[in-house]
């Protein structure tokens, strides 16, 4: 039993301490960034966290942990007192120490075996360095920072140390008060004085016990003063506060030199305090004289009552204790089960409500009760759903630290910009994202962002930018990791991929730049020349990609050599909550994500400004001088149409075939339609008849929009998207499913899918459909398809050349006059510089270029070195082809090979080789 108990406590300690570490890490970074201007709240938070780790670990006997955290605590104390500035050099050992603590916590039972002397030594070195600079603070060998074993002799010390530790903790808590005592004593509330009182009392008791006389004397006097002041805080004068401040400072000084404290002269302070005590009114001093040996709590309680008796002095400006909101830890399984139970509760409530409906009439009081239960139940469900959601900021915060460490290690300067911290993601998804994102960030820092000197040389700012942003778009959560580093050179990737046998040279020739870059995601791919600490272990992007895909996401990589790399992760909505409009068709309800909804129209019959018209078979609605195509949801889904009578709210079958019949009926008053008589009975004024009103939801797809006619409009609701099983994934009208408030499942409509099903002819719909199909196609075929866009052109008249569009940077029309001839070379002005103009016959065994033409073209291939122009006499076409380019030993360098395109034998240029040839050919500029 006991063992289990202590196990629980220890795991609690570990969890709590880990939390402490996590919470102080951002603080540490802030501290470091603003090292010249210390925020005392922050440092106190750090100090407290470290102290509680230390305290608890010593309680459980985790000595290594204790020693380490104690060493850090000492440093923080110096930071706090302004004796040291937390500059990066000093923070390095601290961060290492923090990491070590984390490591120890991860396996706390064997933490004593984890070596940490090195860390402790470094941390202590911070203090020692300072001491050698600053003679005021004498050596403090009494604090058990060193790793020497506890000897018999030092037993006494351990008690002393306990006192010191505990007191330091208390002092840390009162520190803000301490500061304001000096600066603005009027801000100090009675509660603050209470805290001070408690602290000095504690010191006094300890000092008497350990026979530190000076400390005791000081403590005794201070206790008396604070004891009185706590009842008359607003009457304290500045000069009095100064005396207190000096007294407290002396106490701290004594503490710092506790073993020789009895020899320190504090006569001045004692006298001043005596004077203060004499001067003070005696009327409230009775119970503060409580004997020091008393139970400590007694005076506190009595004082509280005293306070409530006076009934005023509400403290407004208490020192901020901690900015983090209160939390408790709950296991995820509990939350899951709660979530389900809440669902059940909602169902039960709905059933109850239905059954009670009959009784309500006889007992109207029930109504309010039901409503109340209703609201509460909904709220419970909402809140429980929220419990699983966490802002991505929780994850992103740790990146600051990673970026700092790596940047320092690599001597790079990096600014991390985080955007969209508030976007919420399901906890499990967030956890799954941690590793891949960390990896991406490491990659960016290690391979992407250049050294400061290099950056300056390239005309970039010295400080690299790394941007991590999150936002909702198109019903997905997007995460973008973007750096402005050197980017990825597609050719380097290609070379490596061929070397490692991931791709054959033949196939490689057809790849576009972006495809080449994407080779980086092949399993086992690494470009790193040497394995570094940070990244480049050969398990790289493929792992990232797999991880993202395991979460149902997609990863896109985009890179411009020299400019930077952008990685976009799209995560599905699964478990992300999206606001939606609920609509009805037949008996069924459907959810439409709000992002797709542009506007809503209720078209009343007879309304002149808006009516449904017909073009051929298609129904359209005139909106702001534009025709909006209309689609009936029930038609698309093949659901029997219904309307709801406003009187009884009962669904009735709709017999019209087209919604625009409503208009015809209203105009054709003498219609023979038997329905119309029946309808007349139900409504006095046919023109505003409910049966003829039409609800139109305008959905947007890109720049296009269309109207969706629905039978009924319900409320807006926040829904949690559930994924569709494979069996219904092919139903393109749906993006997912959700569970409604009443426990029923509702489908989520997909605007693009509906437009497609309704055969609306939007370019964007088509494009989107095309894109989706293409993705499908590609998935099916693997990477078989080699369709590429190529440019067909001539140099000499009858010789045909081809180059993939991907490889072309620009095509320019040039005149012979623009060309300058220097020596044997031609140059041309291009983008404010002169670049060599190359004729293909100079480098390839082809016929000469006809230079007598009045104008011709210059083709500038994409390159990240020096631009060159290739003279082109005629541009034939750009086409998409899928051809087998023949490459054999006779193929000259600079060519991929030859193939027949449109019946012409065409030479496919290999830009890489071609450029190499050109650079060889044209002497360096």
């Amino acid at each position: 039993m006991d063992e289990i108990h202590s196990k629980n406590i220890i795991s609690e300690f570990v969890a709590e301490s880990s939390d402490h570490l996590e919470s102080i890490e951002p603080d540490l970074l802030i501290l470091e960034q603003h090292c010249d201007q210390i925020d005392y709240n922050i440092i106190n938070r750090i100090f407290r966290a470290m102290h509680s780790i230390k305290g608890a670990s010593s309680f459980f006997g985790f000595d290594a942990l204790t020693r380490l955290s104690h060493a850090m605590e000492n440093v923080f104390m110096k930071f706090r007192d302004g004796e040291l500035t937390p500059d990066p050099d000093r923070m390095d050992p601290i961060f290492q120490g923090i990491d070590k603590v984390r490591l120890m916590l991860s396996d706390v039972h064997s933490s004593n075996q984890i070596p940490c002397d090195e860390e402790i030594r470094k941390i202590n070195a911070i203090l020692e360095k300072e001491m050698s600079n600053d003679q005021i603070v004498p050596a403090k060998d009494d604090i058990p920072v060193t790793s020497e074993p506890v000897s018999d002799e030092s037993r006494d010390d351990s008690v002393v140390n306990d006192l010191i530790n505990e007191t330091m903790d208390r002092i840390a808590e009162i520190n803000p008060i301490f500061i304001s005592l000096k600066n603005n004593p009027h801000d100090i509330s009675t509660d603050d004085y209470k805290a001070l009182y408690k602290t000095v009392h504690h010191i006094k008791v300890g000092a008497r016990f350990l026979n530190f006389r000076q400390l005791y004397e000081l403590g005794k006097r201070l206790e008396i003063v604070f004891g009185r002041f706590r009842q008359m805080a607003d009457l304290v004068r500045k000069d009095q506060a100064d005396i207190l401040f000096d007294g407290l400072s002396k106490v701290l000084e004594l503490f710092d030199n506790i073993h020789c404290s009895n020899d320190i002269d504090c006569q001045k302070e004692l006298l001043k305090l005596d004077f203060l005590i004499d001067e003070m009114p005696k009327n409230v001093s009775v119970e503060t004289k409580a004997e020091p040996s008393d139970e400590r709590k007694t005076p506190i309680i009595s004082k509280t009552t005293a306070l409530s008796n006076t009934g005023k002095l509400a403290p407004n400006n208490k020192p901020e204790k901690s900015t983090s909101p209160e939390t408790i830890r709950v296991s995820v399984t509990v939350i899951d089960s709660l979530m389900n139970l809440a669902g059940e509760l909602v169902l039960g409530r709905n059933q109850l409500r239905q059954e009670l409906e009959t009784v309500v009439r006889s007992n109207p009081k029930l109504n309010t009760i039901i409503q109340n239960v209703d609201a509460v139940t909904s709220e419970i469900q909402e809140d429980i759903m929220k419990m699983r959601m966490q802002p991505v900021g929780n994850l992103f915060n740790k990146f600051s630290r990673i970026v700092r460490d790596i940047a320092r290690q690599l001597s790079k300067e990096v600014e991390l910009i985080i955007e969209g911290k508030d976007v919420e993601l399901d906890k499990t998804m967030l956890e799954g994202l941690s590793d891949p994102l960390t990896h991406l960030i490491r990659n960016s820092l290690d391979h992407g962002i250049e050294l400061p000197a290099q950056r300056e040389k390239n005309g970039k700012s010295k400080v690299g930018k790394l941007q991590v942003s999150t936002f909702h778009e198109g019903g997905q959560v997007n995460i973008i990791v973007k750096d402005d580093g050197k980017g990825i050179d597609p050719e380097v990737i290609l070379k490596k991929a061929i070397e490692s046998g991931n791709i054959s040279a033949d196939r490689a020739a057809y790849l576009s730049d972006s495809e080449k870059i994407n080779l980086i995601m092949l399993p086992g791919f690494s470009t790193a020349e040497s394995i570094t600490d940070i990244s480049g272990r050969g398990v790289g992007m493929d792992v990232v990609k797999t991880n993202i895909e395991a979460l149902g996401g997609q990863l896109e990589l985009e890179s411009k050599p020299g400019k930077g790399t952008t990685i976009r992760i799209r995560l599905p909505l699964t478990l992300a909550i999206i606001p939606s409009l609920i609509v009805g068709s037949g008996d069924l309800r459907f959810a439409i994500p709000q992002v797709n909804v542009q506007e809503l129209f209720l078209i009343r019959v007879g309304e002149k400004s808006r009516k449904i018209e017909k073009i051929g078979d298609a129904e359209v609605l005139r909106v702001r001088e534009r025709l909006l195509p209309l689609v009936n949801l029930s038609d698309v889904l093949g659901i029997e149409k219904k309307y709801y009578t406003p009187l009884t709210n009962e669904p009735m079958a709709d017999r019209r075939l087209k919604s625009d019949d409503r208009r015809n009926e209203s105009i054709g008053a003498e219609s023979e339609d038997p329905d119309s008589t029946e309808r007349r009975k139900l409504s006095n004024d046919r023109r505003s008849s409910w049966r003829n009103d039409v609800n139109v939801v305008v959905l947007k797809i890109g720049n296009n929009s269309f109207g969706l006619i629905v039978d009924r409009l319900y409320d807006n609701e926040e829904i949690v998207v559930k994924p569709l099983s494979t069996h219904i994934k092919d139903c393109r009208c749906f993006a997912g499913a959700t569970i409604m408030g009443d426990g029923r499942v509702a489908m989520i409509l997909d605007a693009v899918g509906i437009a497609e099903c309704a055969k609306l002819n939007f370019t964007e719909v088509n494009r989107e459909a095309h894109r989706r199909n293409a993705i499908e196609e590609r998935k099916k075929q693997g990477r078989k398809g080699n369709f590429e866009s190529i440019l067909l052109f001539n140099s000499a008249e009858n010789e045909h050349f081809a180059l993939t569009l991907e490889a072309i940077s620009r095509l320019e029309l040039i005149k012979p006059d623009d060309i300058y001839r220097i020596g044997k070379r031609d140059f041309i002005a291009y983008l404010n510089e002169s670049i060599p103009l190359v004729y293909l016959e100079d480098i390839l065994p082809v016929k000469p270029f006809p230079k007598d033409m009045e104008q011709y073209f210059m083709l500038v291939p994409k390159t990240n070195i020096d631009s060159v122009g290739i003279a082109v006499s005629n541009i034939m076409d750009t086409i998409d082809v899928n051809v087998d380019v023949k490459h054999d030993k006779t193929t000259p360098q600079g060519l991929l090979g030859t193939a027949f395109v449109n019946g012409n034998l065409t030479m496919f240029l290999n830009t890489v080789e071609l450029l190499e040839l050109i650079y060889e050919h044209v002497p360096a500029l």
């Binding site: 669902g343 093949g638 099983s725 069996h727 219904i728 092919d730 139903c731 393109r732 499942v745 489908m747």
Partner: protein
């Protein structure tokens, strides 16, 4: 000598069983939201304590006509892939030894044989054992009916 247990139910004239190990639970959640344009054997989606479960009409899935939902209808929720199977009724749990199970005969009338894992001879009739994993396998070749 492994002994398996099978949950049994009737489809048309057949006594059909599914290995109890593949079954998460049996319930009567029959508030099914239909999914338009879905394969014919997909009856729709249900809410199983906060999770959506795709429900099949098992009769349609294995080659019979669509069944009406009655008082006797039950929903067998499979462990894998959150799929539910609507069956007309639930019978006994029948035990069968591994070597009692025979390969399915060629003439299983009206039933798609690929879903059948084996049969067991009972006193009066045959128990047709279905493969849960085959049933939840997606064919992928679904064509839209326009």
């Amino acid at each position: 000598m492994a002994i398996s247990q099978f949950i049994t139910f009737n489809i048309m004239d057949h006594l059909v069983g599914i290995d109890i190990k593949d079954v998460r639970e049996i319930n009567r959640i029959l508030e099914i939201t239909p999914v338009q344009h879905a394969p014919d054997y997909v009856r729709g989606l249900i809410n199983l304590r906060g999770n959506t479960v795709t429900v099949f009409d098992l009769a349609v899935r294995i080659g019979f006509g669509k069944r009406d939902i009655t008082e006797e209808s039950h929903n067998i929720i499979l462990k894998k892939d959150a799929v539910g199977l609507i069956v007309d009724n639930i019978g006994d749990v029948i035990e069968a030894d591994e070597n009692e199970i025979e390969i399915p005969p060629a003439n299983l009338k009206g039933m798609k044989s690929r879903f059948v894992e084996g049969v067991k001879k009972l006193n009066e009739n045959l128990l047709v054992i279905l493969s849960a994993s085959k049933i939840i396998e997606y064919d992928g070749v679904y064509k839209e009916k326009d």
